[in-house]
Amino acid sequence: MTTSAMPLGQAINAGLRRALEDDPKVLLMGEDIGKLGGVFRVTQGLQKDFGDHRVIDTPLAESGIIGTAIGLAMRGYRPVCEIQFDGFIYPAFDQIVSQVAKIHYRTRGDVKLPITIRVPFGGGIGAVEHHSESPEAYFAHTAGLRVVACSNAADANLMIRQAIRSDDPVMFFEPKRRYWDKTEVDVDTALDSFALHRARILRAGSDVTLVTYGPLVATALAAARVAEEEGTSIEVIDLRSISPIDFDTIEESVRRTGRLVVAHEAPVFFGPGAELAARITERCFYQLEAPVLRVGGFDIPYPPSKLEEHYLPDVDRILAAVDRTRAED
């Protein structure tokens, strides 16, 4: 086993490289992913090493990228599509929701679509409009898709390989403001070492369960450290998968803590937190000491960057919710 400290973006690059090496049917396709290596450099060097027939710079049209990936998958390929930014995925919405998600069902299992759709998502990078969104709930609401979000380099490396191996289509959300955060990564980690759709307890705690995913996992861990100094023990769970959701791991935690806070950058209204609140309330009604609280983006368009610090949940807003569940506000 060889581990090395690696930024999250580079860990995905290493995972893509491994997938390209292991399976000749794996193809990467997207805008600017070849010589440029993608606007976030996640595919850097891959076209040079694998050729422009396996790392394909596509015309600039998102519906076209996903629609042609469907045809390639029908032909036996495993396309990995890059959508350049979260807010640019909507031109491909019909192909994803009406075609990618439903063709296996429509053909009664005759046609499998092992397509991975990579989406850098979330804010915090000071970008202009359409470059900071969190659209995961749209896709979690669609049967036939699997939806995951990585939060650290080690998971990113493992999860991208698992997503590509899946015979189902996977929406793979990458926390763009964490692309440069480093953790120890073992690029030889066995694919079945930790299931793609399992939640992971990152920090044990006894007072409140705090569930989040993607870019807010680091924020949640920071909040837990602050809370500890104040005498509150927070259990932090990285959800990792938004569809399906590993309710068992969360239920087990909430049965111990009696309190649940869910945080995400996506708007709270009809966001993933709503599903978690409903389900955990069903499962843990008699163990809950307080209502499940949600912390998320406001129900407004993503704001100009000078305002995003007020839009994005931070340590203080998360801790305010934690305090409310403990009736300390």
């Binding site: 519906s63 076209g64 045809g71 029908m74 299992g109 005759d110 046609v111 189902d168």
Partner: protein, 374 residues
Amino acid sequence: MVRRVTGTETRVSDDALQLIRESGERIHDDTFTALVEDIGPAQLRQLYQDLVVVRRIDAEATALQRQGQVALWAPLLGQEAAQVGSAHALLGQDYVFPSYREHGVAYCRGADPATLLQQWRGSAPSSWVPSEIGMAAPAIVVGAQALHATGYALGMKLDGAEGATIVYFGDGATSQGDISEAFTFAASWHVPVVFFCQNNQWAISEPVRVQSPVPLAERGVGFGVPGIRVDGNDVLAVLAATRFALAQARSGGGPTLIEAVTYRMGPHTTSDDPNRYRDKAELDGWRIKDPIERVRLLLEREGLLDDEQAAAVARAADEVAAKLREGCKTTPDPLPESLFDHVYAEPHPLISEQRTALAAHLASFDAPLEGSSR
């Protein structure tokens, strides 16, 4: 008028390619006649039979809709030659991406008439098994399938395969962004795909002029996709044009757009009423361009259809019609548990949970009520 576009000989003209006149006379074309030289008496009779059978399938399905056996049908009446002619140009290794009206193509690809109505009856999400006949499930979202055909064609090119793809769509679909994107991707990648547009003049109630002020065959030119305009009611011309485009595709010549000029003699679907938006005179004008009658006249003119052969064609249509009716009426309703089949290829906890919950809910109606004397 024959034009050169991106190095490919291209026919774009108001006078669509024709090899059989409405009267049944043959027309010689310097480029295209040679492409159907192998169509002798037996092959011509086979084309005629398929045209008749396909029209019969359509008539039976329409009747079954009126009888309440299927919920909806999208008739192809008038478009038989466009479908049969193009389908006969295809080989086994080719792959078809249809819209929802290509019943005639499906029949020619070998779809079982007994299962052809499953989708329309509501007993299955689609009717045939794609891998068995090399034909995707119909795309109902208009134009979406053109991108699938383009991607599949890229896969064929990467594989070094012999085949090509053909995608069917209508005049209305040419306004969809996915069609333009498919032209863009196909031209950029130079992949073996044939864009086969059946211009049946009407997108439900909108005449083709709402979609385009220029002939649809010209719509691809600016993308680098040369076009051919063909009389879609002339089965030989359609066969020749499709063979031409497929040969281009297979030999590395890239994509071609074929506009098959035809007419939707019936409604958009059985829920539609074309009397509200189009004139009877227009329909009568197209009636004399009937795609089957001109082949019958050609066969008669050349003495290729005696009474016995004509009877064999009628019998073939009767047999397919019987299979279609019987298959439709005897298709059992799917079981409730099948709701959850194939949503995902791999196990999924939410689906398992809901499958179990529905089964328990349904079983609760079977269990006798405790203490009940009923």
